[in-house]
């Protein structure tokens, strides 16, 4: 897992991914998606371990912001990780196309989070700190869940919709 000096190479195109689309106008700011996500992935209800974040201010006359990985067609996080490591932590899920961090392999360098083009920083790709080591995590479209992403199922107002790779535009 040592860091290696490799010649920059041209990044091979990766398979397109499915995506969770957000209509933030429909969002009811209930944050059920946050707890559903952390419950499914971490076994506890904890918004700070969630892969999706709802940011709202009830005093502000605007719709809430929902921060969630867009599973980029040109995934900077994935390219960074694969170009830095011989045995990278990030991989592409063959079924959904999700860009995923293998937490067992993650060294905690944080390059994926810093290259993520989506703002705000370190929200889309989060980390947890244990025993002096960071482990990064991000949305994996609930790849092992037959019913699809859990946040989509938990959302009461259908503000979240899952679009599989085949139906996704460019």
């Amino acid at each position: 897992m040592a860091r290696v000096d490799k010649k920059p190479r041209s990044n091979p195109r990766v398979a397109k991914s499915g995506v969770i689309n957000v209509d933030n106008r429909k969002c009811l700011e209930c944050r059920e998606c946050e707890v559903a996500c952390s419950l499914y992935h971490e076994g506890e209800c904890n918004p700070s371990l969630s892969r999706i974040h709802v940011d709202f201010d009830d005093f502000v006359p605007s719709f809430p912001t929902v921060d969630l990985c867009k599973q980029c067609t040109w995934p900077a996080c994935y390219y960074t990780c694969t170009s830095l490591y011989e045995d990278p932590a990030m991989y592409i899920d063959p079924r959904t196309g999700a860009r995923i961090i293998d937490e067992a392999k993650c060294t905690g360098c944080g390059s994926c989070a810093t290259t993520c083009p989506l703002m705000p920083e370190k929200i889309i790709i989060g980390y947890r700190q244990a025993k002096g080591k960071r482990t990064y995590f991000k949305c994996d479209l609930c790849k092992d869940r037959a019913e699809g992403p859990v946040c989509v199922e938990a959302c009461p107002s259908m503000a979240l919709t899952y679009v599989p790779a085949a139906e996704r535009g460019r």
């Binding site: 700011e29 499914y40 700070s48 199922e153 107002s157």
Partner: protein, 654 residues
């Protein structure tokens, strides 16, 4: 100590007099008392002496969350506030609840509740940050409204900070002051904002980044996802969903909003950039629940902002104080306030709907006078209409309260088939709620009566003008299954046999105690009917399943129901020991209130026959029929031996 699931295991205790912060172990109260309301009832029994008044430093202000708070269970965003309540007439230990995002944040910060006692020498607020708490100087926010307090504290502690605060009304010890969070969610009934003010406590700000550990995550996840989203009311004929259509889900000047962590069908609306009628400002605020009768939607929005900002109980003002003032004017007791005429309708007021709409100037004046206790009338109205009637107009306004208040409790009648606010409850469906009004320390709609009036009543094909989806046979079958008596949901039975009304009153009250302790929302729990199941019965064991899989403590529906009964009896015992509650007080609700037709159907409560319902209620509760006090047998059966001893020591054991 074994690992704890559901609860965080710590209750924060803040003594403002000694400026001391300690923690207590939650686990010495649970699982027998579940959480929140159950725990604070026990703390109240142990610590609040009969002589403690609402504004005394010895009063405990308990703001508690339960094992399910902050989880995926629908309605898990709520928080319950308990203490000796000043709005109650006379004051007694009571409760109030609110939604929003504050409760879960407290849980994520690592606490099952905050118990505040003492009185600070100078204005302070409490800042809780991930397991740490400190008392900070509040001179910067003292004297400001709840909106600016929240925003100032968010500027200081970060924008994700959740804040509860009292407004100017609370600082001035109004008995109808609320504890406010965000723009509209508030613990309204009870006047707990005034309790905060009496402790010189302006706000509690919380930030937490922890979580709630779940014992069996996958089972819990599935339970929550399967939780019905039907809504309490059955869907309208011809539609399979109750969700507002996409067209009504958002617009250029409004968005929909929910209390935190809830997936049920009810939504509130945040109106954005509404121009005011009084001040040409743009207002953004959430609206739900109560409403003023005024001239326009814009005026309504503006006045609600004023109400929430001052921290005043808008429910009490809009459907209690203003109608009472209008009645007083019709009887020639008063004509204007500060030169602004009190609006009155031409015909005598019988129902809330008869009241005249108030101009915004009038509302603004009355709210300001209440918040700052301005003048004699403002000072009196700041205590709510029940207390004001004792002082104003040589007490001649007192009989006029009878239409509006069942008196003990000091809160506006609603969901009891009488007076206007709330929905329509038809004869004889309003008998169990009236029975609950008799026994409770407050307006029981916060946790118990909604289940019956909003949900159960509406499933039958013929209950008032509302047409439900189920034929009588189906309703009777479900009723047999859930209550053990098919006649309970059959409207052809009224006073006889009495158990048809006493059973649901007890059943839903105990369920309400569970809802307040877990904490979930009473709009969501408990359901009796369901559109999804084949026999039409809802899964009444849902709460016990959620509780078991969340905490890992296997609890059956019966055991949880028993815990609800335990909490009901404990609250009753506090009421009996501290405030001399008994049958005489219970009957007061039907002595002065509920004694005129609540609807155009002309049905009046038959006092003599209603007393039989009260008899039956006591009998099924295991309480003494003569004085309404719990018996030793009952208390010991519920594991409350020390409570029985305590009541026996003062000679009030049934």
């Amino acid at each position: 100590m074994a690992e704890i699931y559901g609860w965080t295991g710590k209750i924060l205790r803040v003594d403002l007099s000694k400026e001391k912060i300690t923690t207590t172990n939650t686990m010495k109260y649970v699982p027998s008392l579940i959480g929140s309301l159950g725990i604070s009832a026990m703390i109240a029994w142990e610590e609040i002496r009969p002589s403690v008044g609402p504004f005394d430093p010895d009063n405990r202000l308990m703001i508690m969350v339960g094992p399910l708070t902050g989880t995926l269970a629908s309605g898990a965003g709520r928080v319950e506030v308990m203490g000796v309540a000043p709005q109650q007439h006379p004051p007694c230990f009571s409760r109030s609840g609110m939604g929003g995002h504050w409760g879960p944040e407290l849980k994520y910060a690592g606490f099952d509740g905050v118990v505040i006692q003492g009185r600070s020498k100078k204005p302070v607020y409490v800042w809780i940050d991930d397991g740490e708490a400190e008392i900070l100087d509040a001179s910067e926010v003292w004297g400001t409204g709840t909106y600016s307090t929240t925003q100032t504290l968010r500027r200081i502690h970060g924008k994700k900070t959740r804040v509860i605060s009292c407004g100017q009304a609370g600082e001035n010890l109004s008995r109808i002051a609320i504890i406010q969070t965000e723009t509209e969610n508030a613990a309204g009934q009870g006047g707990f904002g005034g309790v905060m003010g009496s402790k010189n406590l302006k706000a509690i700000a919380v930030r937490g980044t922890g979580g709630v550990e779940i014992a069996r995550p996958s089972e819990f996840l599935q339970l929550c996802l399967n939780q019905s989203r039907d809504g309490q009311r059955p869907p309208r004929p011809g539609s399979d969903t109750q969700w507002p259509s996409e067209r009504t889900l958002y617009g250029p000047n409004f968005r929909r909003h929910k209390c935190g962590f809830c997936s049920t069908v009810c939504t509130n609306t945040i109106y954005m950039n509404v121009p005011g009628e009084l001040v040409p400002a743009l207002y953004t605020t959430e609206q739900m629940c109560y409403g003023y009768r005024t001239i326009s939607h814009n005026a309504q929005t503006e006045v609600r902002v004023i109400t929430s900002n001052y921290g005043i109980n808008g429910w009490e003002v809009s459907s209690g104080i203003i109608p009472w003032l209008q009645l007083c004017k019709q009887h020639g007791l008063v004509s204007d306030i500060d030169g602004i005429d009190i609006p009155v309708p031409e015909k005598p007021i019988e129902y809330l709907r008869d009241c005249a709409p108030s101009p915004p100037e009038f509302l603004r004046t009355i709210l300001r006078k209440i918040a700052f206790r301005e003048g004699e009338i403002g000072d009196a109205l700041s205590d709510g209409a029940c207390y004001a009637a004792d002082r104003l107009f040589e007490s001649k306004g007192k009989p006029l309260l009878d239409h509006i208040y069942p008196r003990h409790g000091g809160q506006v009648e609603h969901w009891g088939g009488h007076w206007g606010p709330g929905g329509n409850v038809y004869w004889p469906w309003w008998l169990p709620p009236v029975l609950q009004w008799c026994m409770d320390t407050r307006d029981p709609a916060s946790d118990s009566t909604h289940q019956w009036t909003e949900h159960v009543q509406r499933y039958l094909t013929q209950s008032g003008p509302d047409k439900g989806p189920f034929p009588l046979e189906k309703v009777r079958a479900v009723s047999e299954k859930v209550y053990g008596d098919p006649n309970v949901c059959d409207p052809s039975f009224d006073y006889d046999p009495p158990e048809t009304k006493a059973i649901p009153a007890i059943w839903h009250t105990d369920r309400g105690m569970i809802v307040d302790s877990l904490i979930l929302c009473d709009y969501e729990n408990t359901r009796v009917f369901s559109m999804r199941s084949e026999d039409g019965a809802a899964d009444t064991a849902l709460m016990s399943k959620l509780f078991s899989s969340c905490t890992g403590i296997e609890t059956s529906e019966e055991q949880l129901q028993k815990a609800g009964e335990r909490i009901s009896n404990l609250l009753r015992a506090i009421d009996i020991r501290n405030y001399g509650r008994g049958r005489k007080v219970d009957e007061k609700a039907i002595d002065v209130g509920f004694n005129y037709p609540g609807k155009d159907d002309g049905v009046v409560l038959d006092r003599k026959r209603f007393l039989k319902l009260i008899d039956k209620y006591y009998e099924l509760r295991g309480w003494n029929k003569i004085n309404g006090w719990p018996t030793r047998n009952k208390l010991e059966e519920l594991g409350l031996k020390e409570i029985a001893d305590g009541l026996e020591a003062i000679g009030r054991l049934g």
